[in-house]
C-alpha cells in the first residue's frame, strides 16, 4: 500500500478552488496534502507522471443505476463500479428503484457493505420518498437518514397525488433531506415512448408532451413555496422546464438541476429507423431544447451533468421500439461526451469539470468534488486527446446498451484514485 504519492506535471483543474494550472499534486494517507510545492520532507513512494493529462477531482455522478440488489441480470455493483472508475467517476449517487426498493435501513446498509467489499468507488444510495416507491405512504425517512441517505426520491415512479407530494416534501424538509425529483406527470406521459413532435407524428410513436415535464416542475415549485423543501430536479429534458427552474432560482429558491449528458448531444431525429438504443426516459427532444440545455449548463442554471446510467441485458432492447426498456449505459461515455462539448465551444474545460465535480458534490453536500488540502484524494487523471473505440475490449459495463457502440470517442481516463489508491489504471487490464 502506497503511503505518499506525487502526481507530476498534469494540468490540474479544480473549480472548487478556482485552480487551473500545470502543477504537481501531493497526496499522503489518502488525503490531498498540497498543490504545487511539496510539503516539507515529502518523499513520494509513488510518482505518477501526468504530463499532457488533466488532473481533476474524481467525478460525482448524480444518477447511476447499478441494478443491484435484485436486477443482477442487468448489472452488478461490482461490474458497474469498474465501469465507473474506468470513466473517472469515484462517487455514484444511486436511485432507490432496486429490488427490494431502498426504503429500509437494511437495504441501505447492504449497499454500503457491498460497496466496501468492492472497495473502489463511493456509493450514495438515495432513499425512497414513499414506501416501496408506490407513491402512497411516506417512507421512514428519519431511519433512512440515520442509515446514511442524504436524499430521498421517487425515481421514475409517480406519486399518487399532489397531497402525498406536499406531505412527502414537508416531511423530507423536517429531516433536512434533499428531495430529488425526476419531473414527469404520469397521466400526461400516458405510456409514451418518444418526444411528442414531428418525429413521433411521422413514426407513429406515442408521444410524451413537454407538458409532462413542465406541469410536474410547476407543481413542485408551487409546493416548495409552501413547504420549504430542498429540491433537486433530475435529468431535465426540455428548455421550457429549464426556464421554469431558472425563474425560480432568480426568485431565490434553492433549487438545483442536472441533465443527462446524452441530452446535450442527441435529439428526437435519432429515433429514425426505430433503433431501440435511443429509447430513453426522459425522451430525446428537439434541437432547440438541446441548444437551450447546453447554454443552461454553461451558465450554471443546470449545475450538474450526469450519466443517467441505465444498463440493460440485451433482451431488454430486442423488441419493437415501444416495447423495449428505456435507458442507456453511460458511465464510460460521460467524460468523452462532456469533452466534446468543450471542443464544440459550448463551455470552457473548467466549467465542464465543475459540472462533473464541485456542482454535483454540493447538491448532496458531499465532501467530494474538490482537491482542497485535507480532502479525500479521489482523483481522476485523463488524456483529453486520446482516442478510443467503444467496443467489447474497451467497455466494462455489463450493459451494452449504448448508441455509441463502435464509434471513436476522444478523451480517455488514464488513472483513477480513490483515497489516494489507484483503482483504475489504463495501462493494466486494457486490451486495446
Amino acid at each position: 500500500m502506497t503511503e505518499k504519492l506525487q502526481i507530476r506535471g498534469g494540468r490540474v483543474i479544480d473549480p472548487s478552488q478556482g485552480v487551473d494550472e500545470v502543477s504537481d499534486l501531493f497526496v499522503a494517507d489518502g488525503v490531498v496534502k498540497a498543490l504545487g510545492k511539496a510539503p516539507d520532507g515529502f518523499t513520494p513512494d509513488l510518482l505518477l507522471e501526468a504530463k499532457g493529462c488533466v488532473v481533476t477531482p474524481g467525478f460525482v455522478d448524480l444518477s447511476a443505476r447499478l441494478r443491484e440488489p435484485g436486477l443482477e441480470h442487468k448489472a452488478t455493483i461490482q461490474s458497474e463500479s469498474l465501469a465507473a472508475v474506468a470513466g473517472g467517476i469515484t462517487t455514484l449517487v444511486i436511485p432507490p428503484d432496486t429490488l427490494p426498493v431502498v426504503d429500509t435501513p437494511a437495504v441501505v446498509q447492504w449497499i454500503f457493505d457491498r460497496a466496501k467489499a468492492q472497495g473502489f468507488v463511493r456509493l450514495h444510495p438515495v432513499g425512497a420518498l414513499t414506501r416501496s416507491l408506490k407513491g402512497k405512504d411516506l417512507s421512514e425517512m428519519s431511519a433512512l437518514k440515520a442509515a446514511g441517505c442524504r436524499a430521498v426520491s421517487n425515481a421514475h415512479h409517480p406519486v399518487a397525488n399532489t397531497l402525498v407530494l406536499r406531505r412527502s416534501l414537508e416531511y423530507a424538509a423536517s429531516h433536512d433531506l434533499l428531495v430529488i425529483v425526476r419531473p414527469e406527470d404520469p397521466d400526461l406521459k400516458d405510456g409514451g415512448c418518444a418526444h411528442e413532435g414531428p418525429v413521433s407524428a411521422r413514426m407513429g410513436l406515442k408521444g410524451i408532451p413537454y407538458a409532462a415535464e413542465t406541469v410536474a416542475v410547476a407543481q413542485v415549485l408551487a409546493l416548495i413555496e409552501q413547504t420549504g423543501a430542498r429540491v433537486h430536479f433530475a435529468q431535465i429534458s426540455s428548455a421550457r422546464a429549464m426556464r421554469s427552474i431558472w425563474r425560480a432560482q432568480e426568485k431565490g429558491f434553492k433549487v438545483t438541476a442536472d441533465v443527462a449528458i446524452h441530452q446535450l448531444h442527441l435529439t428526437e431525429e435519432a429515433l429514425e429507423g426505430f433503433d431501440a438504443a435511443y429509447h430513453l426516459s426522459p425522451p430525446l427532444r428537439t434541437q432547440e431544447d438541446l441548444e437551450a440545455l447546453r447554454v443552461a449548463v454553461k451558465d450554471g442554471v443546470i449545475g450538474s451533468v450526469c450519466s443517467d446510467h441505465q444498463p440493460h441485458e440485451p433482451d431488454a432492447k430486442l423488441d419493437a421500439f415501444p416495447a423495449t426498456e428505456p435507458g442507456m449505459a453511460g458511465l464510460e461515455t460521460l467524460l468523452p461526451l462532456t469533452l466534446a462539448l468543450v471542443r464544440e465551444g459550448v463551455m470552457t474545460l473548467p466549467r465542464a469539470i465543475q459540472s462533473l465535480t464541485q456542482s454535483p458534490a454540493e447538491v448532496l453536500g458531499l465532501g467530494a468534488g474538490t482537491l482542497a488540502p485535507g480532502s479525500l484524494a479521489d482523483i481522476t487523471i485523463f488524456d483529453p486527446e486520446r482516442e478510443w473505440i467503444l467496443q467489447d475490449s474497451t467497455w466494462r459495463s455489463l450493459g451494452g446498451n449504448t448508441p455509441y457502440w463502435g464509434q471513436t470517442l476522444k478523451g480517455r481516463v488514464t488513472r483513477t484514485l480513490l483515497e489516494g489508491r489507484v483503482v483504475f489504471d489504463l495501462n493494466f487490464g486494457e486490451a486495446s
Binding site: D275, A320, F321
Partner: protein
C-alpha cells in the same frame, strides 16, 4: 434522415429487399409498384388465376393482431403468385404464452420460409423483424402500430390513379382518427411523394397528432371546411375504444361533427371519390348512403389490394425496382 430506413428496406442498388414503409421511396418507385400491379390485375380476371412467379416459395402471414381483409388479400395475392402460404395467428398463440417476438421469428425462420408478411400492434415491429431475420427473408409490413401500412396506402393511391390519372391537381382529405392511424401516415407519405396538390387532415384536435403539419398537410377541425372542393375523401375507421380514452365524448357527437353524409359531400368536387380502408362503421364515421353510393370506391379498394400485394411481394422476392438510389 431517411438513409437508415433505405439501407434496411432497399439494398445498395436501390432494389427492394423489404417493404416496410412508403417513406424514403421516390415517385418513380411508387409508380413502378402501381404499373406492376396493373400487369397483375388481368391475372385476377382469368379463369386460371395464377402466375408461377413465386412457385416453390413459402410465405408466412405472421399476424400479431387480428385482421380479416388484409390477411385474406395477402393470402390470395400469394396464392395467385403460386407461393405456399402459411397463416400464423399469434394474437391467440405464442406471445400470450410469454415467448419473445424474436424467439417467435427465429422459430418460424427455422422452417425455411422465404417471406414474412407481418402485422403487429407496436410501431416499428416490422423494422425490428427486418433487422433481425436471416438475409434471404423478405419482410412485408402489413401494419405496425400507428406507424405504417404501406400496402394499404399503395392500393389507395392505385385506386385514385385509376380514377383520376394524375395527382398534381388533386385535393385529398383524410378524415377521422389520424392520431391512431397507420393508414393515414402511409397515405400522407404516398400522396406527398406522388405530387398531390393538397393533402388535408380533418378531425377533432384530440385525434390529430401534434405537429402533423410538419408532414406537409393542412389541418382542419371542421368537416365542412375540410371537404370544400376536394377530389378525394378518405374516411378512417373510428375505434370504439376511443370513447374510453377521453378522445371523443360519444359516437353520436362524433357522427354529428365528422360523419360523412350525402349533404356534407355536396361541398366536395362534383366527381369526388369516397374511400375507406375498412372495416366501416356505418352511422359512426360514414352514412350507408355514401358508403354504398355511386361515388364510393370502397369495394374496388379491396380488389386492388390483391394486385398491389402481388406486385409488392414479387418485387421484394426478386429484389426488383429502383435501379440507382432514391
Amino acid at each position: 434522415m431517411t438513409a437508415k430506413k433505405d439501407t434496411l428496406q432497399r439494398d445498395p442498388d436501390g432494389k427492394l429487399r423489404h417493404f416496410l414503409t412508403v417513406e424514403g421511396l421516390d415517385r418513380g418507385f411508387l409508380e413502378l409498384i402501381m404499373d406492376t400491379a396493373d400487369s397483375f390485375a388481368s391475372v385476377t380476371e382469368q379463369t386460371v388465376k395464377k402466375v408461377p412467379l413465386l412457385r416453390g416459395k413459402t410465405i408466412v402471414n405472421l399476424f400479431f393482431e387480428t385482421s380479416t381483409r388484409t390477411r385474406t388479400t395477402f393470402e390470395l395475392a400469394a396464392k395467385r403468385l403460386s407461393a405456399d402460404v402459411l397463416n400464423v395467428n399469434i394474437a391467440t398463440s405464442a406471445t400470450t404464452k410469454g415467448e419473445s417476438l424474436l424467439d417467435t421469428i427465429r422459430n418460424i425462420e427455422a422452417m425455411h420460409v422465404d417471406m414474412f408478411v407481418v402485422r403487429h400492434a407496436q410501431s416499428g415491429a416490422a423494422h425490428f423483424i427486418a433487422r433481425h431475420v436471416a438475409p434471404h427473408i423478405s419482410v412485408i409490413n402489413a401494419g405496425d402500430g400507428r406507424h405504417a401500412h404501406p400496402t394499404q396506402a399503395m392500393l389507395d393511391v392505385y385506386t385514385i390513379r385509376k380514377h383520376k390519372g394524375d395527382f398534381h391537381r388533386l385535393k385529398v382529405a383524410i378524415v377521422g382518427d389520424i392520431l391512431h392511424s397507420r393508414v393515414a401516415r402511409s397515405e400522407i407519405e404516398a400522396l406527398k411523394t406522388l405530387g398531390t396538390q393538397e393533402i388535408r387532415v380533418v378531425g377533432p384536435r384530440t385525434l390529430i397528432p401534434a405537429e402533423i403539419q410538419s408532414l406537409g398537410v393542412s389541418v382542419f377541425h371542421d368537416l365542412a371546411e375540410g371537404l370544400q372542393g376536394v377530389d378525394v375523401v378518405i374516411m378512417l375507421r373510428l375505434q370504439r375504444e376511443r370513447m374510453n380514452g377521453a378522445f371523443i365524448p360519444s359516437e353520436h357527437e362524433y357522427y354529428a361533427s365528422f360523419g360523412l353524409t350525402e349533404a356534407r359531400l355536396e361541398r366536395a368536387a362534383p366527381d369526388v371519390m369516397v374511400m375507406h380502408p375498412g372495416p366501416i362503421n356505418r352511422g359512426v364515421e360514414i352514412d350507408s348512403k355514401v358508403a354504398d353510393g355511386e361515388r364510393s370506391v370502397i369495394l374496388q379498394q379491396v380488389s386492388h389490394g390483391i394486385a398491389i400485394r402481388m406486385a409488392v411481394m414479387s418485387m421484394a422476392m426478386h429484389h426488383e425496382g429502383g435501379g440507382g438510389a432514391a
